[in-house]
């Protein structure tokens, strides 16, 4: 029981730090990095003209009505 508070406090403060950093890491690699990767993948081989022609054919553009 001697030094219980100090021991416990040391353990739990370290534990709190680990939990906090763990949550941040989980968010970073679970949400933030996949999002950046998704945008990079989308734009890597993106063809704007092809996309535009598809939108035009679908009739969603006021400036380029579908024929």
């Amino acid at each position: 029981m001697r030094g219980l508070l100090a021991r416990r406090m040391k353990f739990h403060l370290l534990g709190a730090f680990v939990v906090s950093m763990g949550c941040a890491t989980l968010y970073k690699f679970g949400v933030a990095e996949p999002r950046k990767r998704a945008y990079a993948d989308f734009y890597r081989n993106y063809d704007p003209m092809k996309d535009f022609e598809a939108m035009k054919a679908a009739g969603v553009l006021e400036s380029a009505p579908a024929k």
Binding site: A16, V19, V31, R35, P48, F52
Partner: protein, 228 residues
């Protein structure tokens, strides 16, 4: 546009909005780490695993001053980087004016033979099938894609705000004042926004629709509009 029950941002359609989304992820990550730390410590205290009879707290007080200061710096640096990025002087390819009225927007493309038009919301009773309620307008703001667009925003009567979330733009429209913003639409498409400053009875019914198209299509549209 946002889907029903969407809590997150709309997909970014401009480089600035992509940066803002990245910063939001960073800030949320910091907030999550702080909240999880506090929750963990709170749980310990409530279950009496962590108690304290400390009377001399110099060391811990130093820690919980320095650590939050570092957290604030971690938040401030990327925030200021993006703030200055948004205000960078760039040569716009096109300048257009957006003027808020009660309760519609009017647009002036004075670069192009004085093309001006009003943009009213399409009432729900007149909405074609498949179109978006309270978001569609009779005349959209057509802009060339991948071009730097400068928008000068003002108002005719009361405060309004010209906002398009997907492009990362929100600028107040103040009578007697010209506010400038700029954006670059990374891809072709249709981007919706709504007036973002309370302006009277029909504040919710004066949307903004930006249509981004290739330059050739924009030129033929502007020629057609100017001739009308």
């Amino acid at each position: 546009m946002a889907n029903h029950s969407q809590l997150t941002f709309q997909d970014a359609s401009s480089p600035v909005m992509e940066e803002l989304m990245g910063f939001h992820d960073h800030a949320l990550m910091v907030a999550l780490s702080i909240c999880s730390l506090v929750l963990y410590l709170l749980t310990l205290m409530l279950t009496e695993k962590l108690t304290s009879n400390t009377v001399n707290a110099q060391a811990i007080e130093l820690v919980w001053t320095i650590l939050p200061a570092m957290v604030l710096i971690m938040l401030a640096l990327p925030s200021l980087r993006i703030l200055y990025m948004m205000d960078e002087i760039n040569e716009p390819d096109l300048t257009l004016k957006a003027i808020g009225h009660q309760w519609y927007w009017s647009y002036e493309y004075t670069d192009l033979k004085d093309l001006t038009f009003d943009s009213y919301m399409i009432p729900t009773t007149d909405l074609p099938l498949g179109h978006f309620r309270l978001l569609e307008v009779d005349h959209r703001v057509v802009v060339p894609m991948s071009s730097s667009i400068r928008v000068i925003v003002t108002a005719d009567d009361v405060l309004h705000s010209w906002a398009v979330p997907s492009l990362g733009v929100k600028t107040d429209a103040i009578p007697g004042r010209l506010n400038q913003t700029s954006f670059l639409a990374s891809r072709p498409g249709v981007f919706y926004g709504q007036c973002s400053e309370i302006c009277g009875a029909n504040h919710s019914f004066m949307p903004i629709v930006v249509e981004s198209t290739p330059l050739a299509n924009f030129e033929s549209w502007s020629t057609l509009m100017s001739s009308q």
